[in-house]
């Protein structure tokens, strides 16, 4: 492999909301093609990091660069899977998936064929004309996946996308995300409070300290072989070694966040 390109770079970034400082002194670099997870106790500003990298929020201090260029406005090279339901409830599955290309001015004849490929790929054949409220939580997440991926963004942000799903659906969706990621080789920045999920999926795990004014406590490489078997990975010795290592740091922060709240 050639020298990795830098997809996302935070330079001494801080974000404050009025009196409250969410994150501070964040410097972080994500290589192109990497799967990086950010973990930390609740309310530590994980989502704030994603929102700044996505261009939905501006940093109060410092700067964010995307592929070497300073970011201003919405990050056009990125897709975003949100924690909450973000599908447009008044559009069908097909219309939701077509939305990105439609907004970018791709003729609908091309888009519809492409959308149907995606509908099949995420296992929703026969559901093209359903509305989101007619689907289960897992199916809605599949639509969101297709909606994001169809635009072929170079970077994908995910903010606890499977947090609301039951354990088994979640495991399946994680597997599908990994498969898609491996096939398309995109850069993923994934936010979760679940350390097991973070290690199972990622190349690298970043631990944030308890808020307010969270900073990065540590960055850990996850050198588990790919493709990964998510069903059994949690019982592997190598997984547990890394888990123990990262948990030592994360534990401190979780305890600290208890004290503060």
């Amino acid at each position: 492999m050639s020298v990795a390109r830098e997809a996302i770079r935070f330079d001494n970034v801080a974000k404050s909301f009025a009196e409250y400082t969410a994150v501070e002194g964040i410097s972080l670099s994500v290589n192109a093609g990497a799967f990086l997870s950010v973990v930390g106790p609740s309310g530590c500003g994980k989502s704030t990091l994603l929102n700044m990298a996505a261009g939905l929020m501006n940093p109060t201090r410092g700067s964010v660069s995307i592929f070497g260029e300073p970011l201003s406005g919405i990050n056009r090279k990125a897709g975003y899977m949100f924690q909450q339901d973000a599908l447009l409830p008044w559009k069908t599955v097909e219309e939701n998936i077509c939305l990105g290309p439609e907004l970018r001015g791709v003729p609908s004849s091309e888009t519809i064929a492409q959308a149907h490929e995606w509908i099949e790929r995420v296992g929703l054949k026969g559901f093209a004309h359903r509305y989101p409220h007619q689907l289960s939580g897992g199916m809605r997440k599949r639509v969101a996946m297709a909606q994001t991926w169809i635009n072929n963004p170079e970077i994908i942000f995910m903010d606890e996308p499977f947090g609301a799903l039951d354990v088994h659906t979640r495991l399946r969706m994680e597997g599908e995300i990994l498969k898609l990621w491996a096939e398309t080789n995109k850069t993923v920045m994934f936010v979760t409070h679940d350390l097991e999920e973070a290690i199972a999926l990622s190349d690298e795990v970043v631990v944030l300290s308890a808020g307010p004014a969270s900073r990065i406590v540590g960055t850990y490489s996850v050198n588990l072989k790919r493709p990964r078997n998510l069903i059994d990975i949690k019982t592997e010795a190598a997984f547990n070694d890394i888990y123990g290592l990262v948990w030592r740091d994360l534990r401190e922060e979780v305890l600290r966040s208890y004290e503060r709240s």
């Binding site: 996505a54 949100f82 447009l88 008044w90 907004l103 635009n151």
Partner: protein, 263 residues
């Protein structure tokens, strides 16, 4: 509710109506209710049938419906337009806020004589009255609807590449539509009430005028007949709006669809 549970309630509803009418009829026949003040259902039905048979009612009905339709159309257009404008422009909404409150607090009926002076006895004084009622209902609902768009959906659309204009078309309008529709039910009813009140206070045509004429000669049956026709019209129009709403808001679950109308 599921279909098998729905049928019985309709039967009960009809039975209740029939029982009340029978009670009324019996009361009036037995002399318990004075026929002069209360009329009786059989007379009212006969009168309504006569009015339609002679064709006398059609002109009045057409006038009232035209006035209501015009005030509804103008009121909705204005309400939606201003609702969007003020919801998207914070300065404008803050500037106009006290004036809108004052204007909305004003009982609309007191405007009727002024509109009569300004616009004369024809349809436009009634349309003006109807517009002042419809406008505010639709305005407040549109304003609320645009303001309460889920920010996650807005962010998602922006990440997918939506410009400001595309955001309005794909997110704000559909989201506001649910609110606007919940107001349409109510505003159609109020539009009809407003124009009838306008006609009642001074007109040469319309259901309200018909009722006021009947009242002038102590013709209770005529008053009730006018009311019955009015009620039927409001129900029919409501059913049409309901159909339209069911189609346009088919993406919503029935549970959280717009609230039932309170006409």
């Amino acid at each position: 509710m599921s279909a098998p549970k729905r049928t019985p309630i309709v039967v009960w509803q009809l039975l209740l109506g029939a029982a009340l009418l029978a009670l009324w009829e019996a009361g009036s026949r037995s002399g318990l209710l004075d026929k002069f003040f209360f009329s009786r259902p059989s007379d009212i039905v006969r009168r309504v049938a006569e009015m339609f048979a002679s064709g006398a009612v059609w002109g009045h009905l057409a006038t009232t419906l035209l006035e209501a339709a015009l005030s509804f159309a103008i009121g909705v257009a204005g309400g939606v337009l201003f609702g969007f404008l003020l919801a998207r422009n914070r300065f404008l909404s803050q500037l106009l806020d006290p004036y809108i409150r004052v204007a909305n607090a004003l009982p609309r009926v007191v405007l009727a004589p002024i509109f009569l002076l300004w616009f004369g006895l024809g349809i436009w004084s009634k349309v003006a009255l109807g517009v002042t009622v419809v406008f505010f209902i639709v305005f407040f609902n549109t304003f609320q609807g645009v303001r309460e768009v889920d920010p996650v959906i807005v962010n998602n659309a922006r990440m997918l590449g939506a410009s400001e204009r595309q955001l309005i078309r794909h997110v704000l309008i559909p989201s506001a539509l649910a609110w606007i529709f919940s107001s349409l039910h109510i505003s159609i009813g109020f539009a009809i009430i407003a124009v009838v009140v306008g006609e009642y206070l001074g007109a040469a045509k319309g259901i309200g005028y018909m009722i006021s004429q009947a009242e002038g000669v102590f013709d209770t049956t005529g008053v009730f007949a006018g009311m019955a026709i009015l009620a039927a019209v409001v129900l029919c129009v409501g059913a049409i709006v309901d159909r339209l709403e069911r189609y346009l808001l088919r993406w919503k679950t029935r549970d959280d669809a717009a609230p039932e109308s309170h006409l």
